[in-house]
């Protein structure tokens, strides 16, 4: 169906199987995704399908063949910036979702401007350094009224039930098994990555529901 023919009725149809009271809250919500690799691309697609009105996506990387085993991209995306590829994917599912792209490396300096308008940010980086940076940023007074949903321990293919969502502080949650490391487990596999991304996206919905009460 061409996008230009979509109407308000189509909007209602796309989200008709979602929770109706939550639909209105999600339509107003702004959620950030810091890093759009395995965790971030899958969480972003889940949030678009859930009806989040605006997604702020940030990554400096391009899609590579080695990403396709777990990230929400396909062969036609290889070589494209992840921000451009993910925007295209989301628009093909939910053309009503507003996408704000930041084709940049997120640092301790720009994190506060890139995600300034987000109520909730999903941390989906792949390095310990970047993960640590954003956790510390959310403990800063400037972001104390926003929520961070981090991830730690997503490697391998051991039991799905080890993946948990825990609250670290007033405004920081962490999803994962807390122990599996790609350096020792040797692999990053789609099922566990998608389970963790699902935990992150679902926690975001819970927080948005609470924030807009």
């Amino acid at each position: 169906m061409p996008r230009k023919k979509l109407s308000a009725g189509n909007y209602r149809d796309i989200f008709s199987r979602n929770d109706h009271p939550l639909n209105q809250k999600l339509k107003k919500a702004v959620i950030g995704i810091a890093g759009i690799g395995g965790l971030g691309s899958n969480a972003a697609v889940a949030l678009a399908r859930a009806g989040v009105g605006r997604l702020v996506i940030a990554d400096y990387d391009k899609v590579e063949l080695s990403n396709l085993n777990r990230q929400n991209y396909s062969l036609k995306d290889v070589g494209k910036f992840k921000t451009d590829a993910l925007e295209s994917i989301i628009k093909s599912i939910s053309p009503f979702t507003i996408i704000e792209k930041h084709n940049a490396r997120i640092t301790g300096k720009n994190v506060f401007t890139v995600f300034a308008e987000c109520a909730v940010v999903i941390e989906a980086f792949d390095t310990v350094k970047s993960k640590s940076m954003i956790v510390k940023a959310f403990a800063d007074g400037r972001f104390y009224d926003k929520y961070l949903i981090a991830a730690s321990g997503v490697a391998g293919y051991s039991s799905s039930n080890e993946i948990k969502t825990k609250r670290l502080s007033k405004n920081i949650y962490v999803c994962g098994d807390g122990r599996s490391d790609p350096l020792t487990s040797g692999s990053l596999m789609a099922p566990r990555i998608m389970i963790t991304a699902g935990h992150q996206a679902n926690t975001a919905l819970m927080l948005i529901n609470k924030l807009f009460d």
């Binding site: 350094k129 993960k131 640590s132 730690s152 997503v154 502080s169 790609p182």
Partner: protein
């Protein structure tokens, strides 16, 4: 003083009993706690410390009966 430590991540530590209790000299900082627990320097710089539910700097001092959560994120995503 006595504090309680909970590990939220893959930190390898020594000197914590089964209840998570650690004895420290009065006025010790989180950095001194990490030293006492044997946390390697290359890991310590990425650790976030939450004391009684609020994140504090590693240079901050601890108090008797504090509940300290130490978080070291794992890579991959």
């Amino acid at each position: 003083m006595k504090i309680t430590v909970e590990l939220a991540g893959p930190l390898h530590v020594n000197g914590i009993d089964k209840k998570g209790t650690v004895e420290l000299e009065d006025g010790s900082s989180v950095s001194l706690l990490l030293d006492k627990l044997g946390v390697r320097k290359e890991h310590a710089k990425y650790v976030s410390a939450f004391v009684n539910g609020k994140e504090i700097r590693l240079s901050s001092g601890l108090n008797d009966n504090d509940q300290v959560k130490l978080f070291l994120p794992l890579g991959g995503g």
